[in-house]
Symmetry: D2
Subunit: 349 residues, 4 copies
């Protein structure tokens, strides 16, 4: 059995990977760490886990956190994982970090990201940047040799999966890319705030961070790597009153290709990607199709009048956009199939 | 493997049992029957099942429906199951019916129910009434000899589980029972109607069927059987803007018992009931605790000032209130543990 | 023009009365006071008021708060109004307080309330208790001589309006009263908290404060005053995912009266109550009928099998349950018709 | 008093204008016509209007419909108004039609629209097309001489108001326009359907009509008229789980202008437009700011890295997108100020 430690167990990312580890045939939960809920049972913080995970959450200082685990999930904000990931790796654990700490391969790229969002641009563990990989297995080979992974941002997953086949095939003008992204509220995490107080949110929608969202940096990094150009996107983050789900509508100028041409490119690109479903524009799609699952549904469409590609990318922000994708990475890092314990459908309605 | 046929596959009850059968280690789906979605793939009707259940839904006339199956689920309105259940039983299938057709043990009781809701009071398969059982395994022993089960109504499950221990212990005045029940919208089924059109429902709540809800009859039947009296309840059905979930607040007069007394009675009654969790009034509870699961959470409280029992009963109306309970029955009818393939927690948030 | 000061302008109660004062033909807003939003324009805190109320919110220390106003609304927690109401009255203002400070006529009654909710039982302005009135104009005559009013609690309004006619007529057993109350989330106010964070609230419902809700004291005070008995109710507060609205389902034992008997009693009791609508059980009702308005809709029903009265009481908790009722009181305190500027329908859907 | 007849009174557009007419100081409701709710009181169909509008809805054959009215609102589908508008005009009534029937100035333009959505391309009242005007008063002068107005489509209002200043100023490349539009569910009208059944809609979002939405035609007509070019847009219609509200995010390539440049252009364009509020990107905005009102809030932003204009346009689809805009037209057609009876703020929360 693969023994897991979860740092940040008290948040949505922590409970998400806990649920998945409980379901997985080859894993067990070894240690739950959190600053905020120390001393409480996991099932008191999350009552739906009563009888399934009654472990007590410990503080980062608890000796139990120093024991050996096979895998460590950092479901923590930027700047946390980089402080102790090296220790974990030294103890032989594999590390999957949800934050921006290990999404970039060089200190320069990290500094650009950190500056963009107002963090200290100096990375605390620069030596690890050569060992990490951007954890989107549809773009990067992740296998049993991989010890460290930077799990991608939720918006970034939806945009990159939606644009990579087109950028890779060279069919779009990379200067024309627009990502119009709508997220459910759970993307903002568990901490209460005025913006997500029920009476303010229930019948409402709005754009935010128009000046720049932190996920833009990684989308541009990944798309640039697929083309020979320095891709710069226009990105709009918007929040709507759903709990789980991201729907990103992606636009770019084509060079005459038809919807059929593009469909073929997208299907070929994803032929080995278990969790990506490519659909034509006549097939209805909605975020309910992927709710609670690790799947990404891509609707491929061409506005022929304007010679413009339009992709609608649907994911569950807490699954393919976070814990689900982290488990997919874990599966690959331990030599298992990507879908082990993860290839299940959601519940409806 | 247990091969299942589902009649009424296109509704919420049908897709619910489909999801559970897909997850169960010992079952396979043999045949999906529906009047309304004939000829369509199950996964076209329910896109979240794409790749998991792409079977074509057939009409009741299709020869495939006459093949042998180990179990048949009737997720159909009153009056459907009673027409063909005998044929299924003759072919050796076990039968679980979601409607009122097999919830009553005598033609008289059925007639009372049918009259109550304006149906023909003449049962079409009276001989089967001696073979059926009211399918609430917390009250009735269901084992491998049982061939036919009448799966209970969703409101009834919440009320009976909440009141049975008290009625059984003889601690409440059975003339004083009030069931104030709130259901999510999925309880009304998949068919669109003005009452459940999003703009009319999203920020709204109301009572309905004040003159009498069909589930009253079975609640009274079951509670009367536990006492020596002819129990008559006051029952209020109300709908609130959630998708899944029933919260029933149940009141009855006590004879001086304390909350601790009552808790002990409830815990003892449920000591072998895997899916019933008894909690004191200091432990927070909500329908989110049971969403997507087969569990029932009972909050046990006593209003000492008024010497009154108050139970808050929480279930997922589509699980313990429908398909989950049906699978629990199936497990027992095939000699398996009640929780096989069913004892899993939900997802949060 | 009646010049108004609003203390606590930054909360839901403050913005509610602001909206109503803007609409009222005889009022103007003189001063907006708040601790939390000092220095901001009202329309920056509440952008829907841009162009309608761009006044700057001042702190309680600002000299502007000491000027003369005709009416002062305290939309503040318990214990605030009692500190300065005497000063306001001395300056000639009429005072309407939303909290429990002036809902009780004697220091003993106040102490009972304060003890119930863990406040200091010593009232800070005991002399004013003889001058105040419980501000439910359907029960208490409020006229131009009235200088001070204790505006009632939202749950209390729904319960008292629903039960007063029956208690007054002596047709129910006052020991049998059960109030099963469901409120929308806005009742909890504007301050973010885990319980009302969108992902935790959107598809959820729960009971809370089972040990005792503060509004119980005033319901019992008012109903006791209408009967010759010391009324003690069983009260359940529950929250459902709507923004505005309370639906209280009220039960009590009758002595043989029919639904028609009770309807007549309720209609007669309310014949002069502009904002109370009495309906029979065949007429559909929902909180959407009163959303955004000062109306209370009462569905009158009798469960004849059990000889039990059942009333479903529908209000908007922020209108008839708070600011709307406060304005109704203001109208009467200034000798205007109860409905001046207030008798408007809501918007649908 | 202006006496109004409403054809299609039973739908959302009909009840919307009814609510506004009830509030308006110079209007009275003369006649309510509907095919579906004939013989019922308006307040039985819409209980929130009880006591405010208890008129009986009549069928189109009822003699009352032939009486003289000052204004007739057709809140009806395409093809209805064109059949009888000439009769109304002959009787001296002014006519405001909500459908596409009178949005176009020539039979050719109408045919293009009709073909686009699969209607008969032959207009039934071609003579009236020279008398009508596209009813967006921010673009077209509407005064007391105007007898007939084609009220615009809801999506179209949000897009045209958001783009007109930029197109008019010639600062954007009209070949680069993308309209990413999100609507609340009320935009689909009152008729129940699977797509808007609460359990299918409450936690969901999706794009629809990717092949082409009928409002595209009028957006292109209006923008083309402002430029010298034949504008063709890329338009995406999407639905999110809110009741009221459209948020359209609009993109186009600039020629080096800064956010300040653009803000000035937008403010100047709208200096006399009472119902359009222009805001910079630092000022928070959401559809809650305009809910229940006739206002349009435009957030003006420039993505300087990509030299791209981004406008977020917020309206209430049932107000500025429908009945509110219709009343604004009515006001102008009767020589009143645009804001008469209409310039009120919404309710919050």
């Amino acid at each position: 059995m693969i023994k897991a430690k979860i740092v940040g167990a008290g948040g949505y990312g922590g409970v998400g990977i806990t649920e998945l580890l409980l379901k997985h045939p080859e894993t067990e939960i070894g240690c739950l760490v959190s600053l905020s809920d120390t001393g409480r049972k996991m099932s008191d913080v999350f009552p739906h886990l009563r009888g399934f995970c009654d472990d007590v959450i410990v503080s980062p200082e608890n000796p139990k956190t120093k024991e050996d685990y096979d895998v460590v999930f950092y479901s923590t904000p930027d700047g946390v994982g980089m402080q102790t990931a090296a220790d974990e790796l030294e103890r032989g654990a594999k590390v999957i970090d949800y934050s921006g700490d290990f999404r970039f391969g060089t200190t320069e790229q990290y500094a650009e990201y950190a500056n963009f969002i107002g963090l200290d641009p100096m990375h605390k563990a620069p030596a690890l940047l050569t060992e990490t990989v951007y954890g989107l297995p549809e773009l990067h080979e992740i296998d049993a040799n991989q010890m460290l992974v930077g799990n991608p941002g939720c918006f970034a997953v939806s945009c990159i999966l939606g644009l990579a086949p087109a950028v890779n095939a060279g069919i779009i003008d990379t200067k024309s890319i627009i990502c119009d992204c709508k997220t459910g509220v759970s993307g903002a995490g568990k901490k209460p705030s005025a913006a997500f107080h029920y009476p303010n949110r229930y019948d409402n929608m709005n754009a935010y961070k128009l000046a720049g969202h932190q996920h833009v940096v990684e989308v541009e990094q990944e798309l640039s790597a697929l083309s020979d150009e320095d891709v710069q996107i226009t990105f709009t983050s918007q929040v709507v009153p759903v709990c789980r789900g991201i729907m990103s509508t992606l636009y770019a100028s084509l060079d005459g290709q038809t919807a059929d041409d593009v469909l073929e490119i997208y299907r070929e690109f994803n032929q080995n990607n278990l969790f990506v479903r490519v659909q034509d524009a006549q097939t209805p799609a909605s975020i309910a199709d992927v709710r609670g699952t690790n799947y990404c549904v891509l609707t491929v469409d061409v506005d022929a009048r304007n010679n413009r590609l339009r992709i609608v990318s649907h994911i569950d922000n807490l699954m393919k956009g976070q814990a689900g994708n982290a488990m997919q990475n874990m599966n690959l890092m331990f030599g298992m199939d990507a879908g082990t314990g993860l290839a299940f459908p959601g519940q409806y309605p």
